[in-house]
């Protein structure tokens, strides 16, 4: 079983829809959580970073972390065709953990927003 599970999709939605992207994890040592966006043939781009349970909002993007359920989500409101990309979740253990400083990634979800 992988430490981080992410539904690979693909996910196809109409413009303006609310998108929900999700990851589950099994390692309770994970303390820091990130979402990356990757356009085709480009490097991953950091979208959101959070380290506590709850919600963090940045424009149309909201990152949600539920450590008790080992579940993180990324919500995209008013989705646009320019949001079409692969979205990767990533996480890291706290200081003292064996994976501190090293990210463990989900498989990535391919999202297409059509006009």
């Amino acid at each position: 079983q992988k430490e981080v599970e992410q539904d690979p999709g693909p996910l196809s939605v109409p413009e303006g829809a609310i998108v929900s992207l999700n990851c589950t994890y099994s390692n309770s040592a994970f303390q820091y959580f990130m979402w990356y966006r990757q356009y085709s043939r480009k490097g991953p781009e950091l979208l959101m970073y959070t380290y506590s349970s709850g919600n963090k909002e940045d424009g149309r993007f909201t990152a949600q972390v539920d450590k008790s359920s080992k579940y993180i989500s990324l919500f995209i409101r008013d989705s646009q065709p320019s949001d079409s990309a692969t979205y990767l979740c990533a996480m890291m253990s706290g200081a003292g953990g064996t994976s501190y400083g090293k990210l463990t990634f989900g498989q990535g979800t391919i999202l297409t927003v059509h006009p």
Binding site: Y32, K42, G43, E45, G101, K102, L103, F105, Q107, G108
Partner: protein, 112 residues
């Protein structure tokens, strides 16, 4: 791309030949990483460095070696390339006081 360049950007090589990929950063960050990305696997850590001459293995390090003789450069070497090493390779840096990592543009390697 967070001041990170990777070279070459594309390479085709034959099985059994040595290959070296270069990652160069302009910000003198201490931490540097090499990942590979394959369909269905996300990104997987190959090796990382926490300073000049200080490196350690990641989860998929077999068949790879690294060197870091200067803060700004982190080299990844495939001693004898195999077809299973066909992949897209990404370098990343982590600013020392932060947890986030920032990625370079990637190198697409094909081993025939």
């Amino acid at each position: 791309d967070a001041g990170i360049t990777q070279s070459p950007r594309h390479k085709v090589t034959e099985t059994g030949t040595p290959v070296t990929l270069r990652c160069h950063q302009t910000e003198n960050h201490r931490y540097m990483y090499w990942y590979r990305q394959d369909p269905g696997h996300g990104l997987r850590l190959i090796h990382y460095s926490y300073g000049v001459k200080d490196t350690d293995k990641g989860e998929v390090s077999d068949g790879y070696s690294v060197s870091r003789s200067k803060t700004e450069d982190f080299l990844l070497t495939l001693e004898s390339a195999t077809s299973s090493q066909t992949s897209v390779y990404f370098c990343a840096i982590r600013p020392g006081l932060l947890h986030e990592q920032y990625f370079g543009p990637g190198t697409r390697l094909t081993v025939t």
